[in-house]
Each structure stands twice: as structure tokens, then as C-alpha cells.
Symmetry: C2
Amino acid sequence: MSKQPPENTDPRVEALVNQLIGRVADKWTMLVVEEMAHGEELRFTELGRRVSGISQKMLTQTLRQMERDGLVTRTIHPVIPPKVEYSLSKMGKSFHEPASALGTWALDNLERIDQARAKYDTAAN
Amino acid sequence: MSKQPPENTDPRVEALVNQLIGRVADKWTMLVVEEMAHGEELRFTELGRRVSGISQKMLTQTLRQMERDGLVTRTIHPVIPPKVEYSLSKMGKSFHEPASALGTWALDNLERIDQARAKYDTAAN
DNA sequence: CGGCATCCTCCTGGATACTG
DNA sequence: CAGTATCCAGGAGGATGCCG
């Protein structure tokens, strides 16, 4: 499988798209976007508090990637103690739509999925 | 960060939702759903051919998870050589909507993201 | 054909400690 | 406060071989 890269599309574009899907279909990215979608600027620590379960490392990493991809704006206030504020860019906000649609779907179907799993697990043993 | 699990929600539900997001925000799941969305029943190998870059192992794994979650129906035809067909369940189809919305977004913004990255990379060095 | 089992490698990501 | 740096365990996932 995937022995011969399909000739019908430019392999570089293929790779890029593939990688982009990986980035976009990222749990932490989605959760961070969700928290930032309300519009206010958020500080690093506050963001960490809101995204439940995220480690500081992953928060940093996720924010860097999002900044690099142009989803997030990072504003450094040169004061002591340091103050850095994050907010969604225009593109970031546009990303929030499909992302939150997916989140909504997950919530809506949580029950059904849970049941499906239980059924599957008992059936198969 | 994430030292004290927030008390405002049931930690078990929290965990489940978190895990579910992880499942739902999965690259291969999305790509597989995309290929299956056209409605026909698809055989294992054919599916593998369509989802570019997926290994046989990941395809099997993804399909099993999706089946377990009730997104996919697996039909075994007891013939020789073996014939197994996969199709989206009703829930699977409903998942396709937000999933493909995300894919569409990625495609639409591929250019912008690429530019943002280039800009970020040259600026920071 | 449609897998499962095994091995092995690399990357992800948590924990911890330290800085401007 | 907002990170960076380091270490390290565990899981993801490719390659290969075998089977009903």
C-alpha cells in the first residue's frame, strides 16, 4: 500500500496537503482555538488553565505552530513581569468554524459512540 | 498546568470527551471518511489505494476503530478469495459533514498558511 | 484478498529544573 | 509570568512475514 505514489497529483502538493491535514486535525489546536474563539486576548497561563489537560510544553508548541501558520497573533508587552497575549487572527477565526463544528459533532454523538463501543466490545469479547 | 483537574466538570466525562476529540481529530479517520463518503461499498484494498500514503497497518487500525465507534459497517462475504466491504453508517455520514468542512478549509487556506510560514521563518531565522 | 503478529525505530509528549 | 532545555518512557507507526 502506498508503494507507488499516485501519479495523478503532484507528490509535493500531496505531501503538503497530507501534512496540513495532520496539523489541522490536531486535538490541542482545536481545543486552543475553541478557547480563543470568544474574542478576548488571552495570556499564556490563562489559556493553559482553560484548556484542560494540556501540558505547558504542548501549549507552547501548539501556540508556536499556530502562530507560524498565521492562525494566532502573539503580542509581547515589554513589562515586568512579562505579559504575552494571544488572540486569533482573521484566518484563525475562520478556522474556528469547521473546528467547532467537529467539536459539536463529537459532543452530540458522545452517547451514541459510547454505546457502539460497548456493543462492539461485548460482541467481540 | 493541568495539575488540579478542574472541579467544575465530571473528570470522567472530561476524560472521555478529551479522548473522543483525539479520536475524531485524527488524520487517517478523516481521510478514510472522505473516501467512503461517496456512498459505495469499498473493499479493503481499494480503500487503501484511495487513501494516499496510508499503510496497511494504519488502514486496518483506523477501520477497526471506526467500526467500534459505529462509524463504519463491515460486511464480510464468505467467499474465496475473501471479500470484505466497508461503508459508512448513518453516524459515519453525519461525521463526514464536519470532517469535510475541515478538509475544505485546509485546502482553501493552504496558500495563506504556506505564505504565513514562509514569512514567519524568514523573520525569525 | 484481507488481514494479524512481531519486531524495531522514531517521535510525541510528560516531568522536572532553570531563566529573563 | 512565560517560557526554554533536558531527560526519558511509551506509543505510533513502518517493514516484514505468515495465514485462512
